[in-house]
């Protein structure tokens, strides 16, 4: 089974802040769906941004798709092959219509307009949003925006999906629908999620980010004992 991501000993601190990651190590193999959990502010989103080169770690090694990645030029390829769905769809969607938003990635990859529009229809069908092509993205509901932002990334035909809290503030129906879509996709994925039920439906393996490191969580539900 080929290894897609392999990171070791990542350290990261934002300027003038205490370190967020102190020694994070993980591997993602083809076909895996790896869930990452951990408290608010633990550095989960930070880790994902490091994986695609949006942030540069102070120490550590990143091997992606079989090559070590160090500089911006290396990561441009990583970003083409790993699709990153942001925590907040409003940070990702900026075009007037759904079709244009979904076509943005393919156009950046050099497809023609006609080709890109063909991709749009196909990808929207895959996430169950047929007929949303000409809808105004800004006026969609939160759940619909989330599915569109997934479609935007799928349109680039990535080999790996990186999903940052995809069920954040989704209702149960949309969460269930999203689970089905994700389970039907062939790609390996890393999914950040606070939701234990969703993780159980989706993940083949789970890691917990705490005190700057990735650890295998205890088998029992941590939440069981909490609450007032």
């Amino acid at each position: 089974m080929s290894v897609l991501f392999e990171v070791a000993g990542l350290c990261f601190a934002y300027p003038r802040r205490p370190p967020v990651l102190t020694d994070a190590t993980m591997t993602l193999a083809a076909g895996e769906r790896l869930a990452i959990t951990g408290p608010n502010g633990a550095g989960k989103s930070t880790l994902m941004q490091i994986l695609v080169g949006l942030l540069t770690p102070q120490a550590g090694r990143i091997v992606a798709f079989g090559a070590e990645r160090r500089v911006e030029a290396d990561f441009q390829e990583v970003r083409r092959r790993a699709g990153y769905v942001f925590q907040d769809p409003d940070d990702q969607l900026f075009c007037p219509t759904v079709a244009e938003d979904v076509a943005f990635g393919p156009l950046n990859l050099g497809l023609s307009r006609a080709e890109a529009l063909a991709v749009v229809d196909q990808v929207l069908a895959r996430v169950g949003l047929e007929g949303f092509r000409d809808r105004i993205t800004h006026k969609l509901s939160g759940g619909e925006k989330r599915l569109v932002s997934l479609a935007c990334v799928l349109a680039m035909e990535p080999e790996v999906l990186l999903l940052d809290e995809p069920t954040n503030a989704l209702d149960e129906d949309t969460t269930a629908r999203l689970s089905e879509i994700l389970r039907g996709l062939p790609q390996a994925m890393i999914v950040i999620s606070h939701d234990p039920h969703f993780r159980r439906r989706i993940a083949t393996r789970t890691l917990r980010l705490q005190q700057g490191r990735l650890v295998t969580p205890q088998p029992v539900c941590r939440h069981a004992g909490m609450g007032a």
Binding site: C95, P96, T97, I136, H138, K139
Partner: protein, 207 residues
């Protein structure tokens, strides 16, 4: 297009100051305190938009977006763009202090002229008309700004004439880019929130 202190003749600097004060007074007349939040957040957005840089062949240019500012803000573009220029001068060292009036008129007067000429078109129900107007407005504002900069230099001394002509020429491609960016912005606003063109710009007359 920030002119610096010391380049212009006293008469031009004074004239620019007087015109700027007039423009500011007209722009502030319609801005009740109730409308300050809209004007302020939009003004902040235009400040950020001016930090966007676009590649132009082997170099890159920063956007001005005064045409779009005019279409969205109407007369309020005068105070909004003045505030932007003041912050840039004081905290970034772009431009200068005595030329603040001239620089304001150079950027804001074209914005208001574009609004006067294009406000109907941009509010048209027909998207194509609106987008075309957006292109014309965006490009025209840059051409007018370049012409005003040239004029101001030329009025300050004949020795500036060659430079003034070159300023105008050099801004033709910039005007095309600004026109296209403005047209795209108008496309989005037209589909997503067409009221944007009426919030501040329209009632300015009534006040």
């Amino acid at each position: 297009m920030h002119i610096v202190d010391g380049a212009l003749s006293n008469a031009v600097v004074l004239g620019g100051g007087v015109l700027a004060v007039g423009g500011l007074a007209l722009g502030l007349r319609s801005l009740t305190l109730e409308k300050i939040p809209v004007a302020g957040v939009l003004s902040a957005t235009f400040f950020v938009a001016a930090l966007v840089h676009v590649p132009l062949g082997p170099s890159s240019v920063h956007l001005i977006m005064n045409g779009l500012a005019g279409l969205v803000l109407g007369w309020a573009a005068f105070p909004a763009l003045f505030v932007g220029l003041l912050l840039q001068a004081v905290f970034f060292g772009f431009g200068g202090l005595t030329v603040l009036g001239v620089n304001t008129v150079n950027i804001a007067l074209p914005a208001v002229l574009v609004w006067l000429l294009c406000r109907r078109g941009v509010a048209s129900a027909d998207t194509r008309v609106a987008v075309l107007t957006g292109f014309v407005g965006g490009a025209l504002a840059i051409v007018l700004t370049a012409v005003q900069v040239a004029l101001v230099l030329w009025l300050s001394g004949d020795e500036f004439l060659p430079a003034a002509k070159l300023v105008v020429l050099a801004h033709v491609p910039v005007a095309v880019i600004e026109g296209l960016v403005c047209a795209a912005a108008v496309t989005l606003i037209h589909r997503v929130k067409p009221e944007l063109f009426g919030t501040l710009a329209a009632p300015a007359r009534a006040a």
